[in-house]
Structure formats: structure tokens, C-alpha cells
Assembly symmetry: C2
Homo-oligomer: 288 residues x 2
DNA sequence: GAGTGGTCTAGACCACGCT
DNA sequence: GCGTGGTCTAGACCACTCG
């Protein structure tokens, strides 16, 4: 089962019912093979959904093309002889790994490989610097959450500038950011009367850029999307996200703090001075 | 709420039944409040598990201490008047966010704040350099997976050194690594007859360190633990992990490639030259 | 053996996107 | 309106840990 020739050919016949029939039988074959493997379940009682995930994963590699629509969950569950909930457990894992994309009211499609998203060089620069990938959306003056206020070393009740930005890559929203800027970091910002919206956000960024950036540090962790982020990212609330926290240092203080949430299903965050690491799984044999 | 002294005190009263009784009533109160909030569900039909997660999250902040054991799932579900599956959906989210830790046969405990784990400075250094946090486990000569072979620009069938290492932080395994080193990167490695085990792994790392490191780049993405990684990380297969892929450049080639899987529930990956960002949620009011 | 979380089932209804 | 994925239920059994 060499790969290579799939893709272009398959893309044209995606919706072809006859082909779908063929694929369905392939899936049935796959699960049948799985069943015989399961007969010796006394030794390794692997969960069904884990088997399913493996089988589906291999089917995705060999039988499906990017963007193709899978059979619906009820059909798939019936085909594999499992409850829908079990099938869904497998699909959820595959979605978490970026192999599938599911949309309510639409269906489940094969996801393209994750896109590499550059998350700043080692040196770093102020947010809003020329050519950064972010698009200012709005800015308001509001108290920061307690943990952010602590990191900024401001009183939790003191309003700070909260700049909202979004990041689009390959025509798709990939990240939403909240940038917290204490008033002391932008002393000359008198244009608070700027019209709410991007202009106001840009004003804050412009003033912030006047400071000398002394350094920055960054942390990445797993989180789940808040309702507002989920909306901006076109995901459901609770969707897994990679939260990138960046602290900008100037004048010996934390001059600003950014909390950016990236879609974990579609993004691979890249760091480093040069090109990105190009590792993708694809249709291939697994190393034994 | 400075931390530091908590833990020891609380650890003693974790099992105190009287305290548990008190907490249970608090939980009941919480869900009761939640119910009245749900009455206006015509406007925003928020899922139950989302409500539950919020309520539990607040209860964790205000009523529970790190390490404390929660009531079991059946009790909790009954207490909140939901099916166990629904309760579990909320717990899963909280575990994903690093708030809870669940262990089969034991119970659900309140997790400590995520630990910051340094993932190398901008400059970078060879794996195995003095004082890196990794512990060599073993090394073998085996073909690399197809995608890794491609990145290393070696034939997929050609055996490469595969060094296994683990990383322990605060007495807990936090990461498992597979380091792929093509034979051409360690030409003088004749000690293949070294006894299998850490010694052999160290031999590969020592030879690798002879090269001039020209640079490296890094990517972070979400993954799910393979069976072997899960075992090393003391998690179930499929547990969410942060996969850090690092490419080491020397002699104009990719001299080695590391794929490190970090426990996503317990780790916050930190980058940058200086200290880590210190942002933690804790018992605190949420900004409105 | 008792108690825990993990898996699985066979249903039901709901929210959403399309046509 | 119809088909999709999302939520939820009320059970059951299994695998694991610990006393």
C-alpha cells in the first residue's frame, strides 16, 4: 500500500456514490480485520474506541483525501457495530490530533495537515510591529483578571488597556488574543477618545511601541476555549486551545502581557529564528 | 493568597468526614444557584456539562485544597442531578485544564498548579549537554518513521539511532522523548556494543555533542499519548500531550531530531532566555 | 472484596446548516 | 424540513488500586 498517487485523483471522485460504496466496504473490511485481532483480547483488553481510532486513522491515510466528507456518525457506528458514543470517542481523539474536522449541521471532513504558525522569534518585538500577523479588533479600558493584574504588578481594580486582536492564516482564524497594557506603559495615550474599534487598538499598540523592549518570555499550555474565544475561532466553547502567554519587559517592568489562544486542532506553533520544522504524518507505514 | 504553606496543613484534613460533609452542602448550594440561573435557558441553552464545569471550577477555587480527594463520580452526579456521563464530561474538561487529576481505582484529586517546564533557550544546545533535565534511558538502532526519515533526509529503511529519554520534574515524570540520530551524525560511534541501556544512550549523546550546533528550530502541537509514552508518563493511552519537535542543525544538515511529548495536564512549557511567566489561575474573582 | 474511574450501550432530544 | 453533529440519560460491566 504505497501512498503517493492519492490526492488529486481522489479529489475529483469525492462525492461519487459508487466510490463511496467502495470505501464503505473497505471500512467494513478494516473493522472485520480488527475483530479477528480482538479475539485474543484476554491478553490486551484494548478499548474499542482505541481500536476504532487506529482503524479509522489508517483508513484516512489510505482511502480518504483531504476535505472529503466521511459517512455520518450513525452510519459509521452501525458499520463498525458499536454504539454511537463509542464511535464518537474515536472521532474526538482524531479531531484532537487534527486529523478530522467536525461541524454541527454539516458533517465530518478529513482535515488538512496542521498549519505551522510562527509564534515570534527569540528576540521578539512589540505586538503590532510592522508585518506581524495580527489584526487589531478593539480596545477597552477595564480591570484585568486577578492573575494578570498580579503579573503586571498593578492593582486588580485598576483599569488597564485590553486590546483584542485576531490572527488569520490561510484564510482561517487561528488565534484570538487579549493584550493587557497598563496605563503606565502608554503615558502619552491621550487618544482615548478615538472611535472604539481597530483604530483605538492601533493607538494603544503605537504608543506601546515607543518603549524600549528589553526582553520577553513565553509560556505555552493547553486550555479550553472560553465562549468568546470559541466564537472568534469558529469553534465550540471548550474546544482545546494552545494558550501562549507572552510577557513584554521594558523599563524593568512587565510592560504588557499577551494571552493568545490558538486553535489546537489546526495549528502547530513554530518557534525559532529560521524555517519551521516540517514534520507531518501522512499515509505511511507506522514504524513497528 | 500566597502559596507556599498550603499543602501540608490541608493534607492532614483531607479525609476528615466532617469537612467533607460541609463541602458537600456547599456543592449542593452551588448547583442550586446554578439551577435558578438555568431557568432562563430559552435565551442561552448552555450545555449542562458547561454549567457543571463552571460550578465545579468555582467550588475548587473556594472550597478545596490541592491534593484533596473529591467525592466519587457517582455521588457527584447524584448530587448535581445529572447522569454520570454528563458529570464526567465536566470532569474531563477540568482535567484537561489541569485543575483535576483522576486515577482509576483511586479517585479524583485537586491538581496543583501546572509546573513550568523550561524547553530550552533560544540559542539551544545539544541534547545531553551538561545539566539538561533529561535522563537517558536506552538507545537502539532502528528505522525511523517515514515522516522523521524525511525530515532527517535519510532513507526510510535506513536504521538510525533512536535514543529514549525521560524527564522528571518535581519528582514526577513530565515528558518522554524519542531522539532520532542518523548514523552519519555520529561517525565515530563504535561503541555500539555498549550494554543496552542508559550507557548506550549516553554514548550516542556524547558523540552527537562533538558536532558544531548551527541552530535549531522548534514546533509545539497538541497530540495524544501513544501507548508507550502513556506508560512512561503514568497516563492512559490517548491522554493529551504537548508534542515538542526540535530539529538540530549541524554541517548544513538536520543532525538530529527530537520528538518530546509532555504531559499537557501538568505542564506549562516555558520558552525564553529568562524566568518563566508566572500566570496561574487561583481562587479569585473572575473579571466580569 | 470493596470502591474507584474507564468503557460501552441503546436509546432520546436538541441546535445548527443547508436547501 | 431534513440531516448533521452535540448533548444527555440510565443503566451495565470492566480494570485497577488498596486495605
Amino acid at each position: 500500500m504505497t501512498k503517493g498517487e492519492r490526492g488529486s485523483i481522489v479529489a475529483e471522485i469525492v462525492q461519487e456514490p459508487l466510490i463511496n460504496k467502495a470505501r464503505k466496504s473497505r471500512l467494513r473490511t478494516a473493522i472485520a480485520e480488527d475483530r479477528v485481532g480482538t479475539t485474543q483480547l484476554e491478553s490486551v483488553p484494548e478499548p474499542k474506541y482505541w481500536h476504532l481510532k487506529t482503524v479509522l486513522s489508517e483508513a484516512l491515510d489510505s482511502e480518504f483525501a483531504v476535505g472529503e466528507i466521511l459517512p455520518n456518525e450513525r452510519d459509521l457506528a452501525a458499520r463498525f457495530g458499536v454504539a454511537r458514543a463509542t464511535l464518537r470517542q474515536a472521532l474526538e481523539q482524531l479531531e484532537l490530533e487534527g486529523r478530522l474536522q467536525r461541524r454541527r449541521g454539516v458533517g465530518t471532513t478529513v482535515a488538512p495537515p496542521r498549519m505551522g504558525v510562527a509564534v515570534g522569534s527569540a528576540q521578539g518585538s512589540w505586538p503590532g510591529a510592522a508585518g506581524d500577523a495580527w489584526q487589531p479588533a478593539d480596545s477597552e479600558l477595564a480591570p484585568a483578571p486577578a492573575d494578570v493584574a498580579r503579573a503586571l504588578d498593578v492593582d486588580p481594580a485598576e483599569p488597564v488597556h485590553v486590546v483584542r486582536r485576531t490572527r488569520v492564516s490561510h484564510g482561517q482564524p487561528v488565534a484570538a488574543e487579549l493584550l493587557y497594557v497598563p496605563a503606565v506603559s502608554v503615558p502619552d495615550l491621550s487618544a482615548i477618545d478615538a472611535p472604539a474599534g481597530p483604530a483605538r487598538a492601533r493607538a494603544v499598540l503605537r504608543e506601546l511601541g515607543r518603549l524600549d523592549l528589553e526582553g520577553q518570555d513565553r509560556a505555552v499550555e493547553l486550555g479550553s476555549a472560553r465562549a468568546d474565544d470559541a466564537k472568534a475561532l469558529d469553534r465550540l466553547p471548550g474546544a482545546p486551545v494552545l494558550v501562549v502567554t507572552t510577557r513584554f519587559l521594558a523599563d524593568g517592568r512587565t510592560a504588557a502581557l499577551s494571552m493568545a489562544t490558538y486553535r489546537a486542532d489546526t495549528c502547530r506553533l513554530t518557534f525559532g529564528d529560521q524555517g519551521a520544522v516540517e514534520i507531518h504524518h501522512g499515509p505511511e507505514q507506522r514504524a513497528s
